[in-house]
């Protein structure tokens, strides 16, 4: 598509419209329940403390990878709800392997990530295979696989995890110090650090962009997503594509918890962060499946999330408010893009009509 000033305005119009709509609706909700509107916005918009800022970035790293995993499916019109189960079982398998420390330092990290991708890919592959061979909707099968993975991981943790004296949680063996990543000191004055595997998230984003936009495979994926019949007609083997896209989505899902695992947790236990797969769905929608858009969406999402504590402390509002804002933004984005897209279509139609009009000789209509 050509890059013109009008195109730029239209591209920016949708997100701006969405934010404005979200702002208005949230304010109305606040007024309706009698919360302090001004206080809420000033708290939300105030600069977070350095420590919180680092946490926002760290959360965004995790969410970014999750959203890319979901976006890979979306590109093919596959709704991979199973990212949640895929990353959980992958994280557990990786934690088990990394805890054994078969390889030294950095190699251990690489091995763990390969294991995570394999397991995540395999788990998603089951749903892909069921869809291709038996026509089972991936929505249904991945939801079921989520539950199965939770059960399997629970059983695995009981079998291989250990419990410290006096503790109620069970953890896998902690990875050796040589495999723990210290993180980057990106933000001054913060006592904590940004995950080293920020690098991984950036890499995932670049590879995703490259494959989707610059390879034959990516073209086939997009073509299948746009119109399956057209893709089939042009020689795309759709079942094969579905299976590969599903496995790729699962493999990326496997990487979701790696930054936090090597940067903070060092073992898998009951304190594992759950539900990231579902957050990824929201962020992929918000970021329009675009590698840069997703990055902004992930930052916005985790920024809102981390504002929850401050809002409770300073504005005395319920933490549920943050869920409301997130939901409203998501809804507003979906609607705003549709509105802008329709407006754009109408503009184009008008332009075409005008061009046709001018092309027609004056005397012909008379």
């Amino acid at each position: 598509m050509k890059f013109t000033p009008r195109r730029l305005v239209l591209t920016l119009a949708a997100p701006v419209l969405a934010v404005v709509v979200a702002f208005v609706i949230t304010s109305l909700v606040l007024v309706a329940v009698g919360d302090p509107v001004v206080q809420v916005w000033s708290t939300l918009l105030s600069e977070p403390r350095p420590r919180t800022l680092v946490n926002i970035v760290n959360s965004a790293i995790t969410y970014y990878i999750a959203a890319v995993a979901v976006a890979i499916g979306f590109k093919m019109k596959l709704f991979n709800i199973g990212v949640d189960g895929q990353y959980r079982i992958a994280a557990f398998a990786a934690a088990l392997v990394a805890g054994q420390a078969w390889l030294p330092g950095g190699l251990n990290i690489v091995l763990a990530m390969l294991v995570a991708m394999l397991v995540g890919g395999f788990w998603a592959g089951i749903a892909g295979w069921l869809k291709v061979t038996r026509g089972v909707s991936e929505v249904i099968s991945t939801i079921m696989l989520n539950t199965i993975s939770a059960g399997l991981v629970g059983w695995g943790l009981r079998t291989w995890g250990t419990r410290a004296e006096g503790s109620n949680t069970r953890n896998t063996t902690e990875i050796p110090a040589s495999s723990q990543l210290d993180g980057f000191k990106l933000i001054a004055d913060a006592p904590n650090r940004v995950y080293t595997l920020l690098v991984l998230a950036v890499l995932v984003g670049i590879v995703y962009w490259f494959i989707i936009n610059r390879t034959r495979f990516g073209f086939d994926v997009r073509a299948t997503g746009e119109s399956e019949t057209a893709a089939v007609a042009s020689g795309v083997k759709v079942p094969r594509m579905v299976l590969i896209a599903m496995i790729a989505s699962g493999a990326v899902a496997g990487l979701i918890s790696m930054p936090a695992f090597f940067g903070a947790d060092h073992s898998y236990g009951l304190n594992f962060q759950e539900g990231v797969g579902f957050i990824g769905i929201g962020i992929a929608l918000l970021g329009r499946n675009h590698p840069v858009g997703i990055a902004f969406a992930a930052l916005l999402w985790s920024w809102l999330e981390k504002a929850s504590d401050g809002l409770q402390l300073k504005a005395d509002v319920s933490p549920a408010l943050v869920y409301i804002i997130q939901g409203v933004i998501l809804l507003a984005v979906v609607i705003a893009y549709e509105v802008v897209a329709r407006f754009e279509r109408r503009l184009e139609q008008k332009q075409v009509t005008r061009q046709l009009d001018t092309a027609t000789p004056e005397g012909a209509s008379a």
């Binding site: 403390r49 420590r51 919180t52 946490n55 760290n58 959360s59 939770a150 059960g151 991981v153 629970g154 059983w155 943790l157 009981r158 419990r163 410290a164 004296e165 006096g166 503790s167 109620n168 949680t169 069970r170 006592p191 904590n192 936090a260 903070a264 947790d265 009951l270 304190n271 594992f272 962060q273 759950e274 539900g275 990231v276 957050i279 999330e305 981390k306 929850s308 504590d309 401050g310 409770q312 402390l313 319920s318 933490p319 943050v322």
Partner: protein
């Protein structure tokens, strides 16, 4: 309570010291015993659910309110979001420190690692954690508040055995962890003390925290037990207990509540199936912890709240066990006197 006795013994000294402090701070108030606590700001960090969950968190909130009313301390509270990691919990605790809290309680064992990290980063602030006594949260400025759930469960186990006509009772736990095993072990010991031949069915709902928030699973498990002849079921499964009560109602059987007096807090239509509840008075622990700091002697280390302290007890709301309270109180006395030692697993 063990430490209260200790605290009480130093109270006179502390009161003197506080009078001195209060005198300089607040313009010569000589009765500073209460007002001396005004420099304490007690804060709670809840897990998901927070104030209003009609159970565990609410009980903690009650203790905080009591501290505000009776000790005149400032309070603050923050609730968790869904799907958090330890960094988010730690950040929450640090935000409370920034907000000027002097005493911070993490409600629930999920805060263990976060409390450990935050307490090391803020050695001048006193922390407490409910239901955890692990090395993760241990520290010189951390009080680990734990309960003798096994003792309270012994009493409701005895009540179940006395009330059962079929000679079969059941236990449903949310999750198979040592914390819930204590409820299980106490219940079994109590039931066996009354009727050595009693048949006890046991079921744990899940391998993770979901077992505490799945009423459907609780209902299925309870129905299975009632079908197999049990007529009293004790649950230690948090929110899943609602399903247990529903199953009891549908089958016209009995159930026993947990944590708070569920004959008052459960849904109205099932309250009449709850013959008693094993109450875990988190409020007592929270209040005592704050009070100790107000008294100038902050708690640290493992603090167990048991039957003797009023940390755990059973309820008689609804009058369903009025005929056996004398026998239960006899057991209670034996436990307190150390004549009965209740197992923990």
């Amino acid at each position: 309570m063990r430490h209260t006795v200790k605290a009480a013994s130093i109270l006179s000294v502390a009161a003197l010291a506080l009078t001195a402090c209060g005198g300089s701070d607040s313009g010569g108030d000589p009765t500073a015993g209460k007002d001396g606590g005004s420099d304490v700001k007690a804060c709670l960090a809840y897990d998901v659910g927070g104030r209003g969950d009609q159970s565990f968190n609410d009980s903690a909130a009650k203790g905080l309110d009591q501290a505000k009313d009776e000790l005149g301390v400032e309070i603050e509270e923050v609730e968790a979001s869904q799907g958090e990691n330890d960094a988010a919990r730690e950040d929450r605790l640090n935000q409370l420190v920034d907000a000027g809290c002097t005493n911070i309680v993490g409600v629930g064992f999920i805060y263990a690692k976060a409390i450990g990290a935050a307490s090391k980063a803020n050695p001048d602030v006193s922390f407490a954690i409910v239901d955890d006594a692990s090395a993760d949260s241990k520290g010189p400025n951390v009080a680990q508040l734990v309960f003798a759930e096994n003792e309270g469960s012994f009493l409701v186990g005895a009540a179940a055995a006395m009330k059962s006509k079929s000679g079969k009772v059941g236990f449903i736990g949310g999750m198979d962890v040592p914390l819930i095993n204590k409820f299980d072990a106490g219940f079994k010991a109590g039931a066996k003390a009354v009727d050595p031949k009693i048949e006890i069915q046991t079921k744990y709902l899940a391998e993770d925290g979901s077992g505490f928030a799945d009423p459907a699973k609780g209902k299925t498990a309870a129905e299975g037990m009632y079908d197999k002849g049990a007529d009293v079921i004790y649950h230690a499964a948090g929110g899943s207990g609602a399903g247990v009560f529903e199953a009891a109602k549908a089958n016209k059987k009995m159930a026993i509540g947990v944590d708070s007096d569920q004959a008052k807090t459960a849904a109205k239509n099932v309250q009449d199936v709850i013959i008693t509840s094993m109450v875990k008075n988190v409020n007592v622990a929270v209040f005592d912890y704050v009070k100790a700091s107000v008294d100038g002697k902050p708690l640290s280390g493992v603090q167990e709240f048991d039957l003797k302290d009023g940390g755990v007890s059973y309820t008689t709301t609804g009058g369903k066990i009025d005929d056996i309270t004398a026998k239960l109180d006899a057991y209670k006395k034996q436990i307190i006197d150390g004549k009965i030692t209740v197992p923990v697993k």
